[in-house]
Each structure stands twice: as C-alpha cells, then as structure tokens.
Symmetry: C2
Subunit: 355 residues, 2 copies
DNA sequence: TTGTATGCGTTATCAT
DNA sequence: ATGATAACGCATACAA
C-alpha cells in the first residue's frame, strides 16, 4: 500500500521519498538513508521508528536514484546466443536463480550467432551499466583471436564471465567443463570395447565444439587410428530439423562410409542417429552404438535411452555465479575453474562398466 | 574508446558527462541533452558539432541519471516459473527478441511454482521500477480468485501482460491460444475416427491446463461419452522423469483401465506414452494413438514423430509484445487476443485428413 | 549517534 | 535556437 492523496476528487498514488519518511519519523534524511543501507551507526530505537514509518507508509526507495548514487543497480547482464536452446536455457535458469539469491537482477539479451550482433549486444549491456556480463555458452569465443577484441574491451569496464569457454585475459573469469577430456574418454571407451569405426557428428564451431572435436581426434591418435576426415562430419543444417539430420547420416552411409558407432556433439544429433538406425533396421547398441552430449531430457525421451556426456551444467553455472559475486565483493577468485565431464551410460551403448 | 587521463602515472578511464561534452562543443548542457533526445529544436550544424564531439570522445550517457530524469529505464520484467522449461524458454526467447527490437531491456526473474515466490518476485520487479511485467505461462493465474490479488495490485502500477492466460482486469492484457478449443478438436478427431476410449493425461493445474482439460471434457460431452474420471489422469511426479511417467501409464493399464488413445497436455507426457506402447508391444498408431501438446522438438525426436497441438507460441508471444509497446505508447490496445490452436498430424495418429 | 550540505548526471522549465 | 537553473531521490563527507 503506497501513500495516497485526494486530488480534485481523484485518489492518486503518490510516491514517497526519503524526505517524506524523514519528516514523518522526525529525523533527517541521512538517518533514513542509514537505516535503508543498514548502517551500524543508528540507535536501535530510532531505527525501529524509521522502519515503522516506512512499513506503515509503504515506502519504497527509488531504484533509479539509488542506482545513480551507488553507481550500481545490482544488475548483471546475461548474454546468450539463443535462450530457447535446451542447453543454454538451463544455464540461464541456474544463473538467474543464483544471481537473484545473491541480490542481483538479471538482464537477458539474446544475440543470435552473428559476431556483429554479439558485439553490439555486449555494448548495449555496458551502456546500461550492468555490474558484469555473463557470456553463456561458448559461442562468444571466436577461433580468430582478433575477433575476441570486443571481449577484451568489455573487460576494461566490468568483470566478464564465460560459461563453458576459456579466454585468458585480465578481468575475464571462466567456468567450464573439460569437453576435450570427456569426448576423448567417450571415444576411448568405444574404441577399447572393440568399436574403432566411430562417426563423430557435430554442428557447431564454438569454443567447446572445437574442444570436443579435438578430444575425439586425440582419442583416435592415442589408439593409432587413422584420423580420417570422413569420420568427422559437420552438419550445417538447422539442429531442429531432426529429419534432415537423419537424412544427412543416411547420405554418409550411402556414400560408402561405414561406422558402428556415432558420437554426437549434442543430444539432438544423437537422437537423429538413433532414428537413422531404426530406419535402416540396425539394432542398437549391438549394430550401432550412439553417444550424445549434454545429458538433456532428449536422452531420456529417446528409445532406447541415450548414453550421453553430462557436462556438469549446473555445477559450472553455479560456480560461475559464485566466482562473480566473490569478484564483485573484491575477493580474489580463480580465473578458470574446470569440471570434469561424466559419461552417463544408458541403452544406446553396451560398454563395460568402469573397473 | 572513453576519455582517459593520466593520474600519478596510471592511465585511468574517466566517464564523461554531459557537462564535458557541452564544454568541448561550446554549447550548454541543455543543447547536449536535446541532441541526445533528438529534440527538433536544434540547429543542424550545432547538432553536427555536438554529435561529433560525442563520437570522438566516446561519450555515453549515464543510464542511471537518465532513468532518474525520465523515470524509466526502458526495462520490462519477465516473470516465469521456470525458464528452462522447453515451452517457457521459447516464449521468453521470442519476447526478449521483440522487446529489444522495440528498444526495451528485459529483466528475467524465475519464480518457481509457489505462490509466495511469485508474489515476492513480482514485487521485486516493481521495486526495480520496470515499465511493465510480463507473466510468461499460465501458472500465474490461480484457480482461487483471491489468490490473484497480487496481480490486481501490480496492475495499479504498470501494465501487466499475460502470456497464455486470461484475467479480466483493468491494465491487464492477455495474449493466448484457445487451448480449450484445440484440445476439444483433438479429442473430437479421435472420437470421430472411431476411438472413443481416450486417456487424457496432464500434469499441471495452471490456467491453460484447466482449459485443456475442459476441452477434453467438452468433447466427451458433445459426443455423449461418459465423463469417466478414470480417463482423466493427473501425473504428479516430475515432468523430467520420463521413466516415471511411463510407469504411471503402465500402472493405469494394469489397474484395469483400457484406452486406445492418449491425449497429453504436454509433449513429454506424450513421448512417455509412446515409450509405454513400445514396452507393451502395442503398435502405434494402429493399437494406440497419441497426441501431444506444444509441438516442440520432442515431437520430432519421438519415433514415430508425435502428432501434437501447435499452440502458436510465437504468434502469441509476438502479439503480446506488440500490445505492450502499443500500450506503453498510449495507444489503446485489445485486452485479450486469442489465437486458434492447430493440430499437426504426424506418425502417432492415423486421422483422416480434414475435409 | 545524528544532521547539513553537496554531489550524482540527467531531464525539463523557464527565460532569452 | 539556446542557456541558466531547478528538479529527480538518494548517498555520503563532514560537522556537530
């Protein structure tokens, strides 16, 4: 209930200010401000009195004035290529939760995948004077170093937080999963169980996508397998087009490529691989093994359920916020935190359980 | 590039103000402000001069001061029970896109499903002085009218926008899909194709969930079918637990319930129904028809692909923002916009194509 | 412990 | 068309 006043017959809401409260409570605005900011230097009973007046009058401090005075509105910018993406949406969710629990607001900004839009969106957030910007997903770190200049520039102003990407620069903090290691491990598991002919399927060239691919290649190398380009296939269509992915895999097969397993950089791709097997009458996992990535709900909806790499999204998200809040409080925080991935075995593989 | 100054050997960034620009350009701050706000009353060449100085100095207006002066920071609050939910995430995505295109920022706030948290989150956003709040998803309209008082209160301050829910109150605007009609149509299609024994499966009691259920019941009534409670089953577990949903359906069957079709209030539930059929060795669609809801990516990942109700999420989202921006600009806008649903037929049904 | 006075960087209302 | 100046509502250094 805010203050109201009757004005020419109309009852109108009036926003109270710190001045109103100070008069009502019989103190100065400084004291009111101190109560507001929980300053220690206020006598308990005056504090009580002021709080009482605030309560009864329904006073609410003006957030803009507060922002101007403190030069902060306790707001964090969340940059994200596509918040409707299953994986990114979950990350945004975890991040927002923890930010709010820490007293921060989250301003969301989806950029799409074009570099120019990423840049301008980041600048937009900085103009809005957010306390920090979180780049959700590894699509913000470009392979070409010069293209990452916009991140260095931003780091001059506020801490920049990277979720599942790494960029070595002052005031840039990273929390990520060891995608390289996880993919390598997945590939090694298949190879060592007697399935060396693996198709690696991917649809992104982001930082983590590059790491996953490197993990696959490293596994091949470790086991002395030829690093055949033909077995590393990039799908360039829409990742929502399950049918199209299915056709893509079919075309690979029809082109003479032979493989008894598929490792996909994403659960959608893996699901499509399972569909492909069904269409071709191949049994899973005896004739075709499939490993997905992200351990999303798709893994559970799939039939049989997908073996998938859990990339610890919740952990890295929460750690990111922890690092951020620490940094904002002036506490030294690690610039890089890495979590190991974990292979969750389900029905699309028949791997021996780890010793 | 911002202004820099060398201070005790350290080069430090300095935030320029409107005063600095006015001096550099040889005009008053009022003129600078006019240029900033694209006021007509500025001579073209002075405008040019001011803009040039701004450009070269890298000046950026202080968003907080601007907010204080204009009493707005062009920010919309987006309230959402769970932004990681497939459906809600997409809605948030569309909304944020269009808001930003319209010059507004989006501050996201996930509330969870407890009424108390919804209330406090809404109040949090209002304290932050957002220009409006969008309630994404129908979980914000309670069945008990008194529980919606927090929405009436909020509508006193700013326009409240409801996505896929309806609430008749001044300054509340709604954009939604006719879930009742769509569900009714889906049920009628099955019934009229000779499958009257339909299990309706749902897992929410939100506004739209109530409408969907009513649609199913109305279809039964229209065709003179007994409105058997046993055929309307509420699943109370986690909707991420596909296995659990599967078991739930099995238990219904084992309890003696017989049905040749399942209509689900959600694609996850429908996917689980398909899994159930596979486990039981029932053929789809000849022995069991399944219709999902939301027409999400799950419908495409499912095997066979799910017949699902497209509830026009993109349309209602974009319409919502259109209505909001119009309202904020003082243009009279419809308080309620309803879009029809659309049944997208795929492999889990064998319905005759509409005449 | 409390009050006074000033600053924060704009917008907006007057004049000129 | 432009300039001086007063809000805007709070935080805070300094004084008491």
């Amino acid at each position: 209930m805010n203050g109201t006043v009757t004005l020419s017959g109309q009852e109108v809401d009036i926003l109270l200010t710190i001045y109103d409260i100070s008069k009502m409570a019989g103190v100065s605005i400084a004291t009111v401000s101190r109560v507001l900011n929980e300053s220690a230097n206020v006598r308990p009973d005056t504090r009580r009195k002021v709080l009482e007046v605030m309560e009864q009058s329904g006073y609410t401090p003006n957030a803009f004035a507060r922002g101007l005075g403190l030069n902060s509105m306790q707001t964090i910018g969340i940059l994200c290529t596509d918040s409707s993406d299953l994986y990114l949406a979950k990350a945004v969710y975890y991040i927002e939760q923890d930010l709010r629990a820490g007293g921060y607001h989250s301003i969301l900004c989806c950029t799409g995948y074009r570099l120019e839009n990423k840049k301008s969106s980041l600048e937009l957030l900085l103009r809005q004077k957010v306390d920090s910007v979180i780049l959700v997903g590894s699509n913000f770190i470009e392979a070409e170093d010069a293209d990452n200049q916009y991140i260095r520039d931003a780091a001059e102003q506020v801490p920049i937080m990277l979720l599942n990407a790494y960029f070595d620069h002052p005031n840039v903090f990273c929390s990520l999963c060891d995608d390289l290691g996880a993919t390598q491990q997945a590939a090694l598991s298949l190879i060592d169980s007697g399935i060396p002919d693996i198709l690696y399927l991917y649809n992104s060239r982001s930082y983590s996508a590059r790491k996953k691919l490197a993990g696959f290649q490293s596994a091949c190398q470790l086991r002395g397998l030829p690093n055949a380009d033909a077995l590393q296939q990039f799908y360039s269509g829409s990742s929502a087009d399950v049918e199209g992915i299915c056709r893509f895999i079919s075309s690979l097969h029809d082109g003479g490529l032979s493989f008894r397993a598929v490792i996909a950089s994403d659960d959608v791709l893996a699901t499509a691989a399972v569909k492909y097997a069904r269409l071709r009458g191949q049994r899973i996992p005896s004739e075709l093994s499939v490993i997905g990535y992200n351990n999303s709900i798709l893994a559970l909806c799939c039939e049989p359920e997908l073996t998938s790499v859990d990339n610890r999204l919740e952990e890295i998200s929460r750690q990111l916020v922890k690092t951020l809040i620490g940094t904002l409080n002036g506490i030294p925080m690690p610039a890089k935190t890495v979590f190991p991935g974990r292979l969750v075995q389900r029905g699309t593989t028949a791997l021996p359980s780890p010793a």
